[in-house]
């Protein structure tokens, strides 16, 4: 049976959202291929997370537990995963890893070990065939079935490229966080647990973690916010965000977001940036105020359930993909809107 493998990520033994997103993506590919979904989990005292992986779509979990694996480090993770996969007679068909700072650190090294193609930072996946016909590359020409289509924006994102690596398994890709949908958890789903051998040498352990710091942030995380009020350069200054804060106050739990131009101007800190080089969001509702809708911006918001655009330029590209629009000056429209919403 073909296998689709994903890498579990966790912080302080709590599984990260990307793990569930990868399992969701793997599940839908697996259904097309009639394959099983497997998940590689490395850590320490982490067995109690296995059930969550089964519930999220894994049929099989490969587990490696060791005190040295508690937190991610390049070399030990690289060693254990690559030793194990190399020892298999039949390699996983596909291997998906998050395009996080962890995944993008590790995946390239693994791909080198397996001589696999690796597509970075994908936003869509599919399965299909590939009829390769090259006069200069005769040896590899032919018809390939059940290929991974790894799809990602390219060239500054005005284009999408479909990238394949059908010649060698596992076919690998890193997946941009916040894009794939987890499945609805299936309670009590069972699966198979396989313990992976651990052979670490002194060389594998030569990088030490001195400290890790993560902001404990009481604000709502943009990537999981239900409602986002986004400000663009059309606000004209940092004070414009006071108006957006007031608008956000009209909703339950609305978060603020911003375009890169706003961040570059220093009107808001980087963590608010949405888009290709910022966060990908998937709120129920996003109100974009003074945002032109450049392609790099659109990548970040196109999964919103409903996009409302307020922009004074009727030709702004955002009106080509927003669901509702008001053409007008945001400094007139928003105060009125606040009034309407408050009255209700």
């Amino acid at each position: 049976m073909k296998e689709i493998l994903v890498l579990a990520e966790h912080v302080d033994n709590k599984l990260s959202p990307i793990t569930f997103e990868l399992l969701g993506a793997a599940r839908s590919l697996a259904d097309k291929l009639q394959a099983r979904v497997a998940c590689f989990l490395l850590g320490y005292n982490i067995k109690d997370q296995i059930q969550a992986l089964f519930s999220a779509g894994a049929d099989r979990v490969y587990i490696a537990e060791h005190p040295e694996l508690k937190d991610y480090r390049t070399l030990p993770y690289n060693k254990i995963i690559s030793d194990y996969i190399s020892s298999l007679e039949i390699k996983p068909h596909i291997f998906l890893i998050g395009a996080t700072t962890t995944g993008r650190d590790l995946a390239p090294r693994l791909a080198c070990k397996f001589n696999s193609g690796l597509t970075a930072d994908c936003t869509e996946l599919d399965i299909g065939e590939f009829d390769y016909n090259s006069k200069t590359d005769i040896k590899r020409s032919g018809l390939y079935k059940d290929c991974l289509y790894a799809i990602r924006p390219s060239f500054g994102e005005s284009l999408k490229a479909r990238i394949l690596g059908p010649w060698n398994n596992p076919q690998m890709a890193t997946i941009r966080p916040g894009i794939m949908l987890p499945i609805k958890p299936i309670e009590n789903k069972q699966g198979e647990i396989i313990e992976v051998p651990i052979n670490l040498t002194k060389n594998d352990l030569e990088i030490e973690i001195i400290e890790s710091f993560r902001e404990i942030n009481n604000e709502i995380d943009l990537s999981s916010a239900e409602i986002i009020i986004e400000g663009g350069y059309g606000l004209a200054n940092a004070q414009g965000f006071d108006l957006l804060r007031e608008l956000a106050g009209c909703f339950n739990n609305a978060s603020l977001g911003a375009t890169r131009k706003v961040i570059d101007e220093g009107w808001m800190p980087y963590k608010y940036q949405i888009g290709q080089t910022g966060k990908t969001v998937r709120p129920k509702l996003l109100i974009a105020c003074g945002v032109s809708g450049a392609i790099q911006q659109r990548i970040g918001i196109q999964n919103a359930g409903c996009i409302v655009a307020i922009n004074k330029d009727a030709c702004a590209p955002i009106f080509r993909f927003a669901h509702y629009g008001i053409i007008g000056d945001l400094y007139h429209v928003i105060p009125e809107l606040i009034k309407e919403l408050k009255e209700f």
Binding site: S134, I207, I209, V333, L337
Partner: protein, 268 residues
């Protein structure tokens, strides 16, 4: 303190996406017409290499793989104060993906010999993969620290701060080590007077040019042509398409009243 010997910095020339020149109607780039520039992310790598040299000594060699015109960014690197430069240029490299690129660059590094530190940019704006650095480290079988935003060297180990989701992490690694430099690192400083003068001289004197810019082909580095170019790349771009206009049926509302009614529907 001066104990480093060799510092390598890997830089690439990319099309300037800020300029409209050479951008075809379908969004693809005509590389011959496009304006060229030093990959913006590699400016941070260059600054990191210059900082390493200033604080811990050593000689900096800037390395690039690309067409003959890529020599332009080597001039730029010399102006900023690197000591030597290498251009790996060969027709058979065309179309290399990250697997093949990292192979060719690894062979170039082997050709050059011993080193203490290699700096790479985080990613390129054209390849945009952030993979080449880690793949070179894998092939050289050395440790790596990616997304580095600050570093120092103590007791012959590098202590570096790297970006992680929602925070940062400090790692300590032995040398030799490969570092990919995040764009939160210090910006590249101005060119040096010495460097600018050197490049002026190089433009005039062939001999000087040959001293500071070494051009290599794949035979020089003993690379296996089967592992290079399109044929040697495990990935292939099978199709590109313009990102589709998602809906094109935006409902234009007259004013806030209408919008607030719609919003109430949506949020029900």
């Amino acid at each position: 303190m001066s104990f480093l010997k060799n510092i390598f910095v890997l830089i690439k020339q990319v099309p300037d996406q800020g300029s409209k020149a050479g951008v075809n109607l379908d969004g693809t780039i005509d590389r011959a017409k496009a304006r060229r520039m030093l990959n913006p992310f590699d400016r941070y790598a260059l600054q990191a290499a210059l900082d390493a040299k200033k604080n811990y000594g050593g000689q900096i060699t800037a390395i690039t793989m690309g067409p003959p015109l890529a020599i332009e960014i080597l001039f730029e690197a010399l102006e900023h104060g690197v000591d030597n430069t290498i251009l790996l240029s060969d027709r058979s490299l065309a179309g290399s993906d990250t697997w093949a690129t990292s192979y060719a660059l690894k062979k170039t590094i082997n050709y050059l010999g011993e080193f203490d530190l290699i700096f790479c940019g985080l990613q390129t704006t054209d390849g945009d993969t952030a993979q080449v650095g880690s793949q070179i480290a894998e092939r050289l079988n050395i440790p790596q620290i990616t997304y580095c935003e600050d570093f120092k060297i103590e007791n012959e180990k590098i202590i570096a701060r790297r970006v992680i989701e929602g925070g940062h992490q400090t790692l300590k690694a032995p040398l030799p080590c490969l570092i990919t430099v995040a764009n939160s690192y210090k910006a590249l400083k101005y060119k040096t007077i010495h460097g600018a003068k050197l490049v002026q001289d190089i433009m005039r004197e062939e001999e000087k040019k040959n001293k500071y810019i070494k051009i290599l082909n794949i035979n020089d580095i003993k690379a296996n042509p089967d592992f290079l170019g399109i044929k040697g790349s495990p990935t292939i771009v099978s199709k590109t398409e313009k990102i589709s206009e998602i809906s094109g049926n935006c409902k234009i509302l007259k004013g806030s009243k209408e919008l607030s009614l719609e919003l109430k529907e949506i949020l029900k």
